[in-house]
């Protein structure tokens, strides 16, 4: 059995209408109307666990509710295939080397098998990530439009691994990436920034009581504003820089710093960085360092909602969805102007952008002292996220790409 049965669409559109507003849902309905008569298949390598499965569990019912018949197929694989695809995945992230030719042969053999087993009798096929990317080689039929959706940051990819991916891109009608920096130079490729699910545990509304109950086990102080950075312990997230900025801010304002995050399993440096952060925070009772498991969605939700100021002082960044999460919760955000952050934080409109620990400290103090500014940035930030970074926008982008594909995307792009 390869097909995933998702939750029935039910009142999903109404739920989205309630949180995202009427306009985004109407836009989806209009685009879906133009796609009437077309059928869609989503293909990935797992039904549970991982960000892609999370996205598809919501996206597939949403597309169904919009009247676009959509099914979700999961490719089958064996133990060796998963080991090889993990190796490929890591190499694309810049960790380790590309699969050997023998491993690649096995990867292709499993993809061929999947191509013969999966039900791909639709005209719009979206393949997620590299694991099922070779199915297109043997299964593509006349009249079908194939889209490859890469959720991975390819910026530091091993060249051999990147070659395996890009050599296949020519079989697709289009490819989609989350950020310009992730895009290999293959055409036609489009940007679809990631989005947040407003109905998920990480973003759903929580009452004050639920927030208190969720955070009680951590023993964080009451009666003092929290300044929080939620991100994994990674040098590029600059947790030491956040500590430095906080120490400067503390000379002027009373506050408590919370550094919360996990160490990614695929990041060998994470434990070292965490140790460095703990050492730097030692002896400061106004700093809490929390290591959270990957499924601590409700804790992160509560932390973000309870914080007075959210910080994302990254040195480099892919997209930083934690910003969109914070803005959606009407929080005031201070962040670096790197990667996808300036798309979310419009300086002085939806948050404050900084370049140095000193700038970060100054803006933290400014926000701690100014309730009105925090409220104003928080409200604008939520509206900005409502329009640009909710799952409704991601669904809209996919519908638009498919619509462009059925209208003849290549000619359309060339004309543009």
């Amino acid at each position: 059995m390869t097909r995933v049965v998702t939750a029935p669409p039910g009142a999903l559109l109404e739920q989205f209408r309630e949180v995202a507003g009427d306009s985004p849902v109407r836009e989806l309905e209009s685009l879906a109307h133009e796609l009437r008569g077309h059928r869609m298949v989503m293909v990935n390598s797992t039904a549970v666990g991982g960000g892609v499965a999370e996205i598809l569990h919501r996206l597939v019912p949403l597309l169904q509710a919009l009247g676009v018949p959509t099914v979700w197929e999961v490719m089958p694989g064996d133990e060796r295939f998963y080991a090889v695809s993990k190796k490929l995945h890591n190499a694309l992230h810049g960790l380790g080397s590309a699969p050997t030719p023998e491993e690649h042969d096995h990867y292709r053999a499993v993809n061929r098998l999947a191509a013969s087993q999966l039900e791909l009798d639709a005209d719009l096929i979206m393949i997620h990530d590299p694991q099922p990317a070779a199915i297109v080689e043997t299964r593509r039929e006349r009249g079908q439009q194939w889209l490859w959706r890469c959720h991975i940051d390819l910026e530091r990819a091993d060249p051999g691994a990147l070659d395996l991916v890009t050599s296949r891109a020519g079989h697709y009608d289009a490819a989609v990436y989350s950020h310009a920096a992730f895009m290999p130079r293959v055409a036609p490729g489009f940007l679809v920034p990631p989005s947040i699910d407003p109905l998920s545990a990480k973003n759903a509304e929580l009452s004050a009581r639920e927030i208190d109950e969720t955070l009680a086990p951590f023993g964080l102080p009451d009666g003092v504003p929290w300044v929080t950075q939620v991100s994994r312990f990674d040098r590029l997230k600059d947790p030491i820089g956040v500590l430095k900025a906080f120490r400067l801010a503390r000379r002027q304002e009373r506050a408590h710093l919370v550094l919360a995050g996990g160490t990614a399993d695929d990041d060998p440096e994470g434990a070292t960085v965490l140790a460095e952060v703990r050492e730097a925070a030692q002896g400061h009772d106004d700093v809490s360092v929390l290591t959270l498991p990957p499924d601590a969605h409700r804790v992160i939700n509560a932390l973000q909602r309870r914080s007075t100021v959210l910080v994302q002082k990254s040195l480099r960044e892919g997209f930083a969805l934690t910003i969109a999460e914070g803005l959606w919760k009407r929080r005031a955000v201070v962040a670096s102007a790197v990667g996808g952050i300036p798309l979310q934080v419009l300086h002085e409109r939806t948050g404050l952008l900084v370049r140095s620990p000193e700038g970060c400290a100054a803006q933290i103090v400014r926000l701690l002292r100014n309730t009105g500014l925090r409220r104003q940035l928080g409200l604008s930030g939520r509206e900005h996220v409502r329009r640009n970074f909710l799952q409704t926008r991601e669904a809209r982008d996919y519908l638009a790409i498919f619509l462009a594909l059925v209208r003849g995307l290549r000619a359309h792009v060339a004309a543009a």
């Binding site: 940007l191 670096s336 102007a337 300036p342 604008s380 900005h384 619509l403 462009a404």
Partner: protein, 252 residues
Amino acid sequence: MTSGREPFQLVGVTHLLRPWGEPVAGLDALLDRVGLAPDEVLFAHSVCRLLRDATLQGQVMDDLSHWIATALQDPETAERLWLAVSTALPRATAVREALTGVLGSLPAKRRAAREAPSGAEFTFLAAIPVRYRSGEPFEDPRAAVAALLDREPGIWFHHLHEEPWEADGASSLLQWLEQRGEPTLAQRLAACTEWGLGVELARTRFRRRWRLSQASRRLVAAEAPAEQQRRDAARGAAAMLVRRLTQEEEAP
């Protein structure tokens, strides 16, 4: 060219984004790239912002000015550029001239002095429109405008910002309104685009004014029968007087 005899089909738009060229880190490189950038790249960074930042309070800053203000931390250049771009809209040639004019007028030393930190470079994007029909065509101009105010902002954006960009200032909707005897309404809608506001904010403002004007129209319409009644009553009274005078004259 729109024909006023035909019903009008509202069209919405959403945009696919794709990177164009290499990212730039400073003003020198920015000046070079702006001179070469296709129109759809300038469109993505100047006009599309009105749709992307649809709900922002106040005037919306274009992407390039925002980047100069934040990543380069050069607020003076950002302000000059912002004003020049917002004045040049909606024509691509004028926007390009505004950008190259302001950036080119900076002393070479100053252009070279500022550099964005690694990871904060500016990536140019091209916006490729995907259009869709919204509902059934309209015969009544006021019903079309009511739908423009009620439906998704991509429709407003397409007819009032995107079409003028592509057609040297012309909008099929505004032409149709004029041909259907609503030139004032067309002028008022055209004026909204000069505010430089995000689409939602502009719509909200226009909606408020539109409702006021609709209310006064209704008021005038409601008063019209009373005026007619007064006229009829006066005519009746005059006729009665004439009859009475005639009767008196005819009396023996």
